[in-house]
């Protein structure tokens, strides 16, 4: 039961499924469920492909970090797939391939292989977003994504030229051995940082996000904002902790960009009147926070933050996209009073929002406390101030949204949420509440991840 199956099986299923077109959605469900089960039996090890040892052949790394990442991505993928399988039958194969690509992203230990999987998941993402019926927005996404991956490849090749290897760990070892000052190493890492930054929705590079998520539907919304966002942030984390060596001048600049992107994201969300825009801008801000935590070096809580964020975004986008499809527009005025008739969905939406805000009795509270305590213990006061200020603004516009969605007297929007969506949404929000109350497992997971030091795989 080696982790390669996580990639091989979906690809195999994808290849087979183009013959038997009508079964492809059911194959998708079966494979993705199978992978979630398979995840239970994965040993922590380095898997060499083709029998060639690490720096020469390609190696897949299964450690705590990638295990959590895999778990989050696969479970989220499976949930989104169940909801959307019935009305996006044609995309069965594409989704299989994107599953393989995402798993590859999480597992791979080789930089060039990361580029290939980045491309696979990227292209399948472009195709998924074509269902938004907005070809220009998808075109923007394609151009941005391709430019991003080109920059990543350029940075990668420069690194290869300087240190002669492609394996992440070997690269880290060689950089340390060569004693290259972090100024000299800055150019390639900068290119790779920006390359991944485009995909991870960091502010200056994410003008494609508004087009895609602004007009998303029940599949693209949760997929891009939930699954892909979590995956790209995990990749970001993997690179930042494993390979990158960031000099303090760049740390300053990057943190200025991140701080700007957090505050600007919240301000944009505050100023937008469309519900989906509010959600997408707040997810931009949260992406900024996640990368901020990675840059400050706390992988443990960053992973928890990303996974919680991923789950919450899937819930939020599912509900809002379904309502927008029925009502026709996602303006807050048109969706006013949405939860008056469907209280269960409203309750889980509210619970998820409160967990995003980091209020007690919800899992978000514990993660936020963890992040802040680590940021403070490292002695810096600026980032926590920014995070807290942004969560105040975030709180205000979410409360404004909630009061609008819950309270309206006459001609309420006639929206019926079908059972699987309701069931999924309730289960996730219940999870958030349960982990909010009983957060021992989260604590252990965070501690285990914290000592995931560079080079120590297991």
């Amino acid at each position: 039961m080696s982790a390669v199956l996580l990639i091989a099986i979906p690809i195999l299923a994808a290849f087979i499924s183009i013959i038997v077109k009508k079964w492809s959605p059911y194959m998708l469900l079966f494979v993705s469920f199978g992978l979630v089960i398979l995840l239970g039996y994965l040993p922590f090890e380095i898997i060499t492909i083709g029998g060639f040892s690490a720096p020469y052949g390609i190696s897949l790394v299964v450690d705590n970090y990638s295990y959590t990442a895999l778990y989050v991505v696969n479970v989220l993928f499976f949930l989104v797939a169940i909801i959307n399988v019935c009305n996006y039958k044609k995309l069965g194969t594409i989704l299989l391939v994107s599953l393989a690509g995402l798993n590859g992203l999480m597992l791979t230990g080789d930089l060039f292989n990361l580029f290939v999987f980045l491309e696979i998941s990227g292209i399948s993402a472009y195709i998924i977003t074509t269902t938004n019926k907005k070809p220009l927005a998808t075109f923007n996404y394609l151009v941005a994504g391709t430019v991003g991956s080109i920059l990543y490849l350029l940075g990668l090749i420069i690194l290869y030229n300087m240190f002669g290897t492609l394996n992440m760990q070997d690269m880290a070892v060689r950089i340390a051995a060569s004693g290259a000052t972090d100024i000299e190493v800055a150019l390639p890492f900068l290119l790779m940082f920006i390359g991944i930054g485009v995909e991870a929705k960091l502010l200056p590079f994410n003008s494609w996000v508004k087009g895609i998520l602004g007009h998303s539907n029940k599949l693209t919304g949760p997929m891009i904002a939930g699954v892909y966002a979590a995956a790209s942030l995990f990749v970001f984390g993997r690179l930042l902790t494993e390979v990158f060596v960031i000099s303090d001048t760049f740390m300053l600049i990057i943190s200025v960009i991140l701080a700007f992107s957090i505050l600007a994201g919240e301000a944009m969300a505050y100023s937008s009147t469309k519900v989906r825009e509010i959600l997408l801008f707040s997810s931009i801000a949260q992406a900024g926070i996640a990368v901020l935590i990675f840059v400050s070096g706390f992988t443990g809580y960053a992973v928890l933050f990303i996974s919680l964020n991923g789950f919450s975004k899937v819930v939020l986008f599912l509900i809002i996209n379904h309502a927008t499809e029925v009502v026709g527009s996602d303006e807050v005025i048109d969706l006013k009073g949405l939860f008056v008739n469907n209280k269960l969905v409203g309750a889980s939406f509210t619970a998820t929002v409160l967990s995003l805000l980091g209020l007690p009795l919800f899992a978000g509270f514990f993660v936020k406390m963890g992040i802040l305590s680590q940021l403070f213990s490292s002695g810096d006061y600026v980032f926590p101030a920014i995070i807290l200020l942004s969560s105040v603004v975030e709180g205000v516009y979410f409360v404004k949204l909630l009061t609008k969605l819950w309270y309206k007297e006459d001609n309420l929007p006639q929206v019926k949420f079908e059972l699987p969506l309701v069931y999924l949404v309730v289960v996730i929000s219940l999870l958030l509440v349960v982990f909010g109350l009983y957060f021992e497992p989260l604590h252990e997971q965070a501690l285990v991840l914290v000592n995931h030091v560079k080079g120590v795989i297991l």
Binding site: F15, G50, Y56, I58, I123, S124, M162
Partner: protein
């Protein structure tokens, strides 16, 4: 004004990258690359897993990785996972194009360009030659430069030739799809067999034979052939999608 601004920006960026690469003492200049400091040195000497046999054309028997063409060795053996990813990328994009353009019943696009006599006859003759060279390139992938990808595109170009030659020529798209899927799944199955039988995914479990022989380098030629067929059918599928339009 915007163009001028972006020109200045781009030039400045280019200049900065070039200058920074020059000043960087670790960035070896063009041409003075010392292979020994790089990973690829052991690809050339085939001693990744400690193989001690000196690599000599026509003499070395059952080397660590068989193909004479080192690039093919890297592509299909050392880093064959990349190639698998590679194939999926092409597979996904062709599928995407098909999804975008060919949603219903398709018929040939009536272009205002009609092939004249010269093209029709010439392409009939050329079709066979291009096809043959394509297949040759695929089969000798492990000995001579080329391999699955270039060979596949040659096959596709021969099919493109047929498209240009005759207005209502349409390949049986269905058959290409099945060929593509069989080739792809065979490739993955070989990998899985390697995993289950020889506990490494995509391991070269056949014996590598003598360097430079036609029948050497274990599964590499088989894998390359499959890739060639797959790439050929995918690209011709893409051509077909672009040259057809929906039946109104």
């Amino acid at each position: 004004m915007k163009n001028f601004l972006s020109l200045v920006l781009v030039l400045a960026l280019g200049g900065m990258i070039i200058l920074s690469l020059q000043n960087n003492q670790y960035f070896t200049a063009y041409g003075e690359v010392d292979i020994t400091k790089r990973v690829s040195e052991s690809y050339i000497d085939r001693d990744v897993n400690g193989g001690t046999q000196a690599v000599e054309f026509g003499v070395a028997n059952n080397l660590e990785s068989g193909p004479a063409n080192i690039v093919t060795a890297i592509v299909a053996d050392y880093r064959s996972f990349d190639t698998l990813g590679e194939v999926t990328v092409l597979f996904v994009s062709s599928l995407g194009v098909a999804l975008l353009l060919a949603s219903g019943k398709q018929k040939r696009l009536d272009l205002h360009f009609h092939p004249n006599f010269m093209l029709r006859v010439g392409s009939r003759a050329l079709f066979g030659i291009i096809l043959m060279t394509g297949i040759f390139v695929i089969v000798h992938g492990h000995l001579t430069p080329g391999g699955g990808f270039p060979g596949g595109t040659m096959i596709a170009s021969s099919i493109l030739l047929l498209y240009l030659a005759d207005d209502n020529f349409r390949t049986k798209v269905k058959s290409f799809k099945t060929l593509e899927s069989i080739a792809g799944s065979l490739y993955v199955i070989i990998g899985l067999v390697g995993l289950f039988a020889f506990d490494y995914f995509l391991v070269n479990f056949l014996d590598n034979g003598i360097l430079g022989e036609l029948f050497s380098a274990g599964i590499v030629p088989i894998v390359y052939a499959l890739i060639g067929l797959k790439v050929g059918s995918e690209i011709s599928g893409i051509i077909d999608n672009f040259l057809t339009e929906e039946v109104a």
